[in-house]
Subunit: 205 residues, 3 copies
């Protein structure tokens, strides 16, 4: 139940981030719907394929597809009347990252994976949709840019916080909320103060 509703909210915010990216690339309306759907459903799809689940989550619950398409239409209409605030895309992305990472970890827990795999599946669920969005829009993936401001760090820390909170006997709902809060906070702080990790640099000659 918790998984179910969190997941739909995450789908919607990530679909919005995909639709906004599509708008920056001047895609046509169908392209907006497709990019919104791939951004929102891509991470969970890869997770389900890697876990070899019998049925991919959006085949089991096609409502996920409708949420993507409705969000895409809403985003197109919204942007027609209101200008999107400067950092809308980054904020939507941070919320999607937070929700998806924790939901992905929960799915892996339900599949009785070991803790390292639960962490990896959380990060994959959170990060892969945005990477697909950026690759399809022919951008360097946000996560791999020198200016990515703790993107994957946030997912990693959040999933560890979530697992630790459960190890400390908090129930899954509380642990989820703390994990989601950690990820979103780290991203917001990193974006606001423009904090980045040290880069590893090899000169090209």
């Amino acid at each position: 139940m918790i998984i179910h509703y969190l997941s739909l909210i995450g789908v919607s915010v990530f679909a919005m981030s995909g639709a906004l990216a599509a708008g920056k690339k001047k895609l046509d309306w169908i392209g907006v719907g497709v990019l919104a759907s791939i951004t929102a459903l891509g991470g969970g799809t890869i997770r389900d394929v890697l876990l070899n689940r019998d049925v991919i989550f959006w085949i089991e619950e096609p409502v996920n597809i409708w949420v993507c398409l409705l969000t895409a239409v809403f985003t197109i209409l919204y942007v027609r009347f209101f200008s999107p605030p400067q950092k809308t895309l980054l904020v939507a992305d941070a919320l999607g990252l937070a929700l998806f990472t924790i939901v992905g970890a929960q799915v892996a827990e339900d599949a009785q994976m070991s803790l390292p795999i639960v962490a990896v599946m959380g990060i994959i669920t959170g990060v892969v949709g945005g990477v697909l969005r950026d690759i399809l829009a022919s951008e360097v993936p946000l996560i791999f840019r020198p200016t990515s401001t703790l993107y994957s760090v946030a997912a990693l820390v959040g999933v560890l916080v979530y697992l630790s909170a459960q190890a400390l006997n908090l129930n899954q709902l509380m642990a989820s909320l703390i994990g989601i809060g950690s990820i979103a906070s780290i991203r917001f702080i990193a974006i606001f103060w423009n904090i980045t990790l040290p880069a590893f640099h090899i000169s090209n000659d």
Copy 2:
């Protein structure tokens, strides 16, 4: 049976579109074979993985691989002696799109999927091979370009026509032919008159 032969024709025309794209990028001969194969087999592969079918179609029937490689050789030889007509690539692509979309929908029907998933699997089968071709050739995917002239629209309309025709009690062969004809017609008309969907545009500042 219908699925089987339509599928092999689709593989061949899509392999040709991949080989021609490889020629534009000056790939070596092996690269031509690989790009032809990925373009032709990519969409169906993703469909089979998402449907969690026991065996991917080209593992079950390796003749698909041979069709790709022979088509690649044929394309290299053909282009050596004849100049490829201006819009060869777009025409091959339109035919491949039409065949693959309907075949993909049929495979999903055989796997007893619901109608929305049948439509999505048709579109994925038709569209994904070309997207992989464009990503690997470091192009913006045709489907996501502002000038894409109803690419995904054609797949979407075609699969809806196919499903409607069956709902009207036409047999699968007739419905397939009508669906394939719709997709190819929409693409040809859109290319000829350069029809595009309205774009969704957000300025970058």
Copy 3:
């Protein structure tokens, strides 16, 4: 057993090639670990998904993930103190290609695939990790560059040598070593003398 150890060595050299590529793109430390992991685990992951194996190899043996992360840390530290020799990346890549191709063929043999599929799975295992590395780093994949100096040729020849050696009644260990040697030799020779296959070229007008 043979598969197991060869595979871990291959993971380590390919992770190094991913980490070095990350350094050329100035990724942050987490980005280095992610790119190293995707480069090292991507080919085998795609292979396992296509073969529909019950459990992806690095879920079954998470030691593969740790090898990637440790190699990434080692590479970052090494490059801090020693300058990476001019062709380090190409050599690491050639060794990874050789090991992964043969290991991938062995996994497909164990899954009782036919010979063409064994060859294809070997090539996919060897080549896909590097392709993902290049796509994520927004480079034209090495394998598709006009200057790729027999990259996929080496994998193709090596897997055929491996299969032929077994057909001539050599045991799997000997056949593996000969196959691995062939691939690495072809790549080293091709890099040293800058040998490329003839390209297929279509002018753009």
